[in-house]
């Protein structure tokens, strides 16, 4: 296939948290608000006058100083962010919206404060509380948290308009991004898709890490380009896989998988698009904030939700997406030392394999996975096993 026009530009944008588009928006006087967790509705950080940046630590090398502070058996993602913060990589931020959802990520936010990583006069780190299940009262709790611990803080520190009208305006722009990415994402359903999993991963990540207004024109152009893009004469992949699990913000992991012959057709992981790129449907009867919070709770697939229906939802979603996108197998992955996904992965990979009948690869991985020879070997072996299964299904020989 011919290269996408903006792919290299997008890849360059992902090389730094403080990328070209972020700098442009900052130069125009916009406020950069950082966050990591899905439970902070991205759209609430994109109110007029500010924009969201989902934090990553691209090109992470040594994390020795963060390891001194957080020990060596804790989430590498959290440690990489602490290291990047200490290095000054997040000095461009004007605020950090935290959720006390998983303990290790919470400690990243706390170290941000404790080690005084950003000393701008109005800089804030806010900690919000997040329920573990979806009930009427827990939705109310979530709404209250977003109002008191996030919107009021933004308004107080920077005078940003957090009214219902402002929120609805942000949703409109957010929805356009989501609609484009959903449309592009669906292209992966085709037997011979015009987009690779890696390309989609890059597109999706730039949508999380760049100001929405700045990235939108590029996304629109890419969608148009894809509509006329000619695929290779034959599918390039050897197997199609759904990736399910904890945070992946490094497209080179997807690249490694695809280099092994496994096209990633479903990105059902944190920082992925399912969930994350669903359009938020608002009615006029209820405050936008309430509807947004309910939306995020309902579509969330985070392993932290422990109520039985959410546990089942996670299994059903993985199964449904894998079927819809014609996956041959599912890869359950977790960031090493992640408690939530550690427990979830062990149990669900077993259930999906023995009860639902999916071929499953179950892995834990470092944050910086691009150079892992062990992972590459396991991916290759999984692809081969999927091919063998296909051959056996077709009655032996091809």
């Amino acid at each position: 296939m011919r290269d996408l026009k903006h792919l290299i530009y997008f890849e360059n944008l992902l090389d730094n948290a403080d990328n070209e588009l972020v700098e442009q928006a900052k130069a125009e006087g916009q406020l950069a608000l950082g966050y990591t967790c899905f439970h902070i509705p991205e759209v609430l950080l994109n109110l007029p006058g500010c924009f969201s940046v989902r934090l990553r630590a691209p090109r992470t090398g040594s994390i020795d100083i963060a390891t001194y502070y957080m020990s060596n058996y804790t989430c590498e993602f959290a440690r990489a962010l602490v290291e990047r913060g200490i290095e000054g990589g997040f000095n461009f931020l004007d605020g950090l919206a935290g959720v006390d959802a998983c303990s290790m990520m919470n400690r990243f936010y706390e170290h941000f404060e404790l080690l005084k990583m950003n000393e701008k006069p109005n800089f804030f780190v806010t900690h919000t509380d997040m329920p573990y299940k979806v009930e009427d009262y827990s939705v109310r709790h979530y709404v209250k948290q977003m109002r008191i611990r996030l919107l009021d803080v933004i308004a107080r520190n920077y005078g940003i308009d957090t009214s219902d009208a402002a929120i609805r305006q942000a949703v409109k722009e957010h929805n356009e991004v989501c609609a484009i990415l959903t449309e592009i994402g669906k292209l992966r359903k085709a037997e011979n898709p015009v987009i690779t999993g890696y390309e989609y991963h890059v597109l999706n990540l730039v949508s999380y890490t760049c100001p929405k207004a700045k990235i939108l024109p590029y996304l629109r152009q890419t969608l148009e380009e894809l509509k006329t893009r000619q695929p290779d004469p034959k599918p390039w992949y050897r197997a199609r896989v759904a990736v399910v699990g904890s945070e992946i913000d490094d497209p080179s992991l997807t690249k490694m998988l695809e280099d092994c012959g496994a096209m990633v057709v479903v990105d059902r992981y944190c920082y992925g698009s399912t969930p994350g790129r669903e359009v938020i449907e608002l009615n006029d009867d209820e405050p936008a904030l309430d509807q947004i919070c309910r939306h995020y709770m309902q579509v969330s697939e985070c392993a932290r939700y422990i109520s039985d229906e959410k546990v089942q939802q996670r299994r059903d979603t993985a199964d449904r997406l894998a079927r819809e996108y014609n996956a041959d197998g599912i890869i359950y992955e977790q960031m090493k030392f992640c408690d939530f996904w550690g427990f979830e992965r062990a149990l669900v990979s077993h259930i999906m394999s023995t009860e639902v009948g999916w071929p499953v690869l179950s892995i834990d991985r470092p944050y910086n996975a691009r150079s892992s020879g062990q992972l590459r070997t396991r991916f290759q072996a999984f692809v081969e096993s999927l091919e063998i299964k296909r051959i056996q299904k077709n009655g032996g020989n091809k």
Partner: protein, 594 residues
């Protein structure tokens, strides 16, 4: 309101419905295993070991005789009155128990022996309330065998104690053992593989061992049982090797080895079917940490017929606006229990229980006041365990416990008046324990006092919610209950922000005038591990003696008890330039010893 006996005698009388055919088959299987073991035993080696042990005993007796013979008259009199001082000699390499009981002097050995007899009497009396299922449980669950050593656990915890301190320790541990014995009988009666009492199962509400028991105060007709407490958590404190097969099983299943051994063991126990199948419903919880939160899905998976309520509380519990959500969750939980059991929430009983709990908390605060003085009286593992048990499990439910509080308080104040020493002749350093503790597994507080004279005045897990619970207004009462639950053992410190565990430590060190901080470092506790650098940095800035002790709770293979002790030995010798109180305790082998 009619006065109810606790626990309800009807629970013991509930009719069993044992499947004798299944028991027969199990017995046959056990017989086969025993036969195989007998067949595979190297009898020659076993005989040789017995001979070696007898020789070692003979040698020890000869040495002890020679030591007494070499003493002056005053030293002999001291031995007779105050007991022995070299406790390391009680351990033998490779042995599961100490070589003999401790000699504490005539009076205290008498006291100790009387308490030992009383304990056995209580245990036999309790198990005889329904002996068959209780005994039969030993044929189903290997963890039941470890409870046979419970009296050894008592001996271990009181090692080196004399006088009033010994009496207080016995009083407190007796209550815990009684609670455990009664619950073991209930577990055996309810278990579908064993007693299979349908009548009792209808009354039983199981809750996660990391969930406090106070919610059951509103259900006097029901029996709340912390489900995994007996098969997993408590038994591992008696015998640290109990949970090893659980951990291995769940790690073979795919659970990463870096997770906390507590939820790992709970899940592993489910994998190898080591938990009884029982109860009418289960209350799981999101407490205290991420790992515990996730263990509940394993429970639902193993027992799909058991309805589960997930009690979840805000993590940022100090935000006042979160109390509403927490109280709503408690209301929902109450509705769930009512729906599943047919029982009705009883406010009168709840308030009466909370009044008792408030009284108990007041007694606890008195203990703290005494321990903050220059003459601390009530320290050691029995007290630490009692505080934890009373706060988490008993919660004022058992009217017998308040009597223990009264007796202990009286003894404590008398001892304080007399300026007694809690560890006679061993009061050198004031210590505080912080982070997820490992002292029960390793008998650490006891060892610290006996070996180095480091007296643990208080531990992090004791310092929880002490505000009196509301006993009149119903809405406020539910909010208080939520506040209490949010501040459960460990969660109070490790959740809600770093200040609850970092700043709080410095506050407590000042309040208790601690000279040494025993900082436990559970290699799998992410909440604490992520603050390691900050704690270390600030301790150095403040010039505190902080001894880091790595451990892995109930998995001694990661960090052995000996390795834990060595950390203190090294620090005391190299940094403090100290000499041990009892040099025989610096280096001994207790790898296999319960």
């Amino acid at each position: 309101m009619a006065k109810l006996k606790y626990p309800n005698p009807a629970f013991f009388r509930a009719k069993n419905k044992m499947d004798w055919k299944a028991q027969g088959e199990n017995l046959k299987e056990i017989g086969g295993i025993v036969g195989q073991m007998l067949k595979e035993t190297d009898w020659k080696a076993a005989f040789q070991k017995t001979v070696d042990n007898l020789k070692a005993d003979g040698k020890r007796v000869a040495e002890e005789y020679a030591a007494v013979k070499a003493m002056t008259k005053d030293q002999r009199l001291d031995l007779l009155k105050n007991g022995e001082k070299h406790l390391g000699k009680l351990y033998r390499s490779g042995a599961m128990a100490t070589v003999r009981r401790e000699w504490r002097g005539v009076k205290d050995t008498g006291v100790d022996f009387a308490e030992w007899l009383k304990m056995w009497g209580m245990l036999l009396g309790t198990f005889s309330k329904d002996l068959v299922p209780a005994l039969n449980a030993t044929l189903w669950y290997r963890w039941m065998i470890s409870y046979m050593c419970c009296v050894g656990f008592m001996d271990k915890n009181t090692m080196g104690q004399r006088g009033t301190a010994l009496k207080m320790s016995h009083l407190m541990i007796y209550d815990i053992f009684r609670y455990v014995a009664e619950n073991l009988v209930f577990l055996a009666k309810c278990d579908k593989k064993n007693g299979n009492s349908e009548e009792l199962n209808k009354k039983v509400v199981l809750f996660d061992e990391m969930t406090m028991g106070q919610i059951m105060a509103g259900f006097p007709d029901l029996l709340g049982i912390p489900y995994q407490l007996m098969p997993v958590f408590l038994v591992s404190e008696i015998d640290q090797l109990t949970c090893v097969p659980y951990i291995d099983a769940v790690e073979s299943f795919g659970l990463p080895a870096d997770t906390c051994p507590v939820p790992s063991s709970e899940c592993g126990a489910l994998v190898i079917d080591a938990l009884p199948h029982m109860g009418s419903c289960f209350i799981s919880s999101s407490m205290p940490c991420d790992g515990s939160t996730m263990a509940s899905s394993y429970m639902s998976r193993r027992f799909p017929d058991l309805p589960v309520f997930h009690l979840t509380f805000p993590v940022r519990y100090e935000y006042e606006e979160t109390v509403e959500d927490a109280a709503e969750d408690i209301k929902a939980c109450i509705r769930f229990v009512e729906e599943k059991t047919g029982a009705k929430w009883n406010w009168d009983h709840y308030f009466a229980t909370m009044k008792r709990f408030n009284q108990e908390t007041a007694y606890e605060l008195e203990k703290w006041e005494v321990n903050k003085t220059d003459h601390p009286q009530i320290i050691g593992p029995c007290y630490e365990l009692f505080r934890k048990w009373n706060y988490e499990m008993d919660g004022g439910a058992d009217p017998r416990t308040i009597k223990t509080f009264e007796k202990v308080n009286k003894l404590m104040l008398q001892a304080y008046e007399r300026r007694e020493e809690a560890w006679v002749g061993k009061m050198r350093y004031r210590g505080i324990v912080w982070s997820c503790p490992a002292h029960y597994y390793a008998n650490f507080s006891n060892w610290l006092a006996n070996c180095w004279g480091i007296d643990i005045l208080v531990e992090m897990e004791s310092l929880n919610f002490t505000k009196p619970m509301e006993t009149e207004d119903k809405e406020k009462a539910l909010q208080d209950l939520a506040r209490l639950y949010e501040r459960m053992v460990m969660r109070r410190h490790t959740n809600g922000g770093y200040h609850n565990v970092v700043d709080e430590l410095w506050r407590q060190v000042e309040a208790w005038r601690a000279e040494i901080i025993i900082m436990y470092q559970n290699v799998a506790c992410k909440n604490m591990a992520t603050l390691q650098g900050i704690l270390d940095e600030q301790a150095r800035e403040k010039n505190y003696h902080m001894i880091w002790i790595e451990h892995d709770l109930m998995d001694p293979r990661t960090v052995s008890r000996k390795t834990m002790r060595d950390k203190v030995n090294e620090y005391m010798r190299t940094v403090m330039k100290a000499e041990p109180v009892d040099p025989t305790l610096c280096d001994f082998d207790d790898e296999a010893c319960m």
